[in-house]
Symmetry: C2
Subunit: 376 residues, 2 copies
């Protein structure tokens, strides 16, 4: 576990559950991605962790920002981040929110449908727009629905349409799926993107930008490739499909920057068996699905855990949260094992929990207050 | 749709998304359940909707309250609800929270494990404790995991143990599963409960109370039995298994009181297709899984919807929320149909949304603020 965070926990003994973020790791992750993708502009996905200390740090390091809502745009601008460093990356925006962003100077917008293009043409005349294409998300830990993106044929037509409606058809975006470990997925996506570039060129429209999205992983139970591996794979894919005529590249890491920077400390509230024949212990923590660990839904994200008894003999457990809700179970099928010596009152650390935790908390389900946060 | 709420929405045009609760319906539902279960004491499950106007109304009507955490106990007591009207119904409590409740005068506690009994014996000497037994939840819309309850054999031993440790073994609780429509489930549960009463009587211990839990439904897409049907079924079950020696009965409705009292108004943000061949429209609302509709997880709770175009021709839709999260899809498999005339900007009402919505909201996922609430 991160030494700086260990020291903070030992010295401050903060109330649990809490998230502790090491800002040095945020910095290191950002710089590593920038080094691995020297030709790309990095737009931090604010939604991963919008805490002010993180946004301010990345602002000072020269990052750009991908906003999922007008609320995130307001937050960024309140921190002095210029509109030219913002992308309104949601494909599902109210027209009045587009108008507000446009008034504030934002000129880069995502879309993936005709109806969204209508809104953009009316509320953001002259803005640069990029169309998100659908990807299947093979190889990703976090499942991709068909919620975002359209198919290549529709994307082509919509971008042509955008040009005719006073918008600047600027490029194509995709998302290969969160926590993507199959580096080949970027190649598939770049191939599709290049098809659209070629089709528009035939119509006299020069697209300029490829938005390679996020998908950069944090380290959960499985090993992951490093930033340089991603950089090589992505640059190889772009070069293969665009040759010498390289487009502008945008990347939108969120988890890849904030995930490994944070540790959630939690307390064991109860350990029990439900019948004399039970083979597994139930271990109940003071944080659960509704306290910040929403990504354990369907046991998709499998966090690494640390206990005071690591190294001793272990046994199988079901891990659950503290609320009176049946679905507030973290891991039942994922085959977690914890030390037999684990006891009520012990502290358990959840590693790589810096992304998609604090904002996922409920406002007060079962009365439990939101996750406390410490940025060090 | 509820007339009072319709009028409020028409006259006030509140910002969406918002929940509007008709307090008259809360009152009616409470009184109907009390009438249907005249021998039971009604403990409102605060977690269903802990809004102050609801708690204050039920306080004035003489209700008792089932608290899922120390935070809910504090909220109740701050409203002047006496400790004798509170049950600490969570089976997963920190020892210091048990101690705090006990200090405040709470004397009724749930448990379902040896470790929890240890904490109670130390922190709440002399308190009345009831053991929750496991139920399978057949017939319920919201799945039951094995998170709560122990088996009958263990419950018997734990209650005997409680007596030996300075606690008052007071009774047995169960939960037949949320949104339970199979009235026979209470009979199964009462049969198991009676077994435990008999076993303890043989040891000279007289249990006094049966806590029949919640499970009383709200009206979602499927029709539900009325309060009197529940009352008859439950009283028949208790009478069948306890004969003339009727125990004290406690019921813990939450959804059954607050669910049908509330309507969420939302706005259509986007309607789209993802390819030319798409058979279904995607309809994106300004509320989703992380804005209060967490119970759409696995499409468990299927809300009824109202649109301005009801009655006109309909077509199949996928319903999704506004966030940049792939899993923020409300209904994909549940076969929802909405009017073909539905347009971006239309208001859509989500009925029977008064329970398990406001507190499930995220604090700000993707920057979206929590659900606004109006109590009228």
């Amino acid at each position: 576990m991160n030494e700086k965070i260990s020291r903070f926990l030992a010295e401050s003994e903060p109330e649990t559950p809490c998230l502790v973020i090491d800002l040095d790791v945020i910095r290191d992750n950002f710089l590593a991605l920038r080094e691995a993708l020297p030709l790309a502009r990095i737009f931090y996905a604010v939604k991963a962790n919008p805490a002010t200390p993180i946004l301010a740090l990345l602002r000072d390091l020269g990052a750009c920002f991908d906003a999922a809502s007008i609320f995130e745009i307001r937050d960024c601008m309140a921190l002095g981040i210029g509109a030219d460093r913002l992308s309104f990356g949601s494909t599902i925006k109210k027209r009045r929110h587009i108008a507000e962003a446009y008034e504030q100077g934002v000129r880069l917008f995502a879309f993936d449908s005709a109806a969204e293009l209508d809104k953009l043409a009316l509320a953001a005349p002259g803005a640069r727009v990029f169309c998100r294409i659908f990807m299947e998300g093979a190889g990703a830990d976090w499942p991709l629905s068909k919620k975002f993106g359209c198919d290549v044929e529709m994307a082509r037509d919509l971008l042509i349409d955008a040009a005719g409606r006073g918008l600047v058809p600027y490029g194509v975006s995709f998302h290969v799926g969160s926590q993507q470990r199959d580096l080949g997925q970027w190649d598939v996506a770049c191939a599709r993107t290049a098809l659209i570039f070629t089709a528009l060129r035939a119509r006299g429209i020069e697209l300029k930008m490829v938005n390679i999205g996020g998908g950069f992983p944090a380290r959960y139970r499985q090993e992951i490739p490093g930033a340089t591996d991603y950089g090589h794979a992505i640059m190889a894919a772009v070069t293969r499909h665009f040759g010498n005529n390289l487009p502008e590249i945008i990347a939108e890491p969120g988890r890849g920057i904030a995930g490994d920077a944070g540790v959630i400390q939690t307390e064991v509230v109860l350990i029990s068996k439900k019948s004399y024949g039970d083979q597994r212990r139930w271990v109940y923590l003071d944080i659960g699905k509704f306290g910040g660990l929403a990504e354990t839904m369907d046991e998709a994200i499998k966090y690494r855990l640390r206990t005071p008894h690591d190294g001793g003999p272990e046994g199988p457990v079901v891990l659950a949260g503290p609320t009176c809700d049946e679905v507030d179970v973290l891991y039942d099928k994922a085959n977690y094992h914890l030390p037999l010596a684990l006891a009520v009152g012990d502290k358990v650390e959840i590693l790589s929990a810096g992304a998609y935790t604090t904002t996922y908390c409920s406002v007060g389900f079962n009365g439990y207050p939101p996750l406390k946060e410490h940025y060090i």
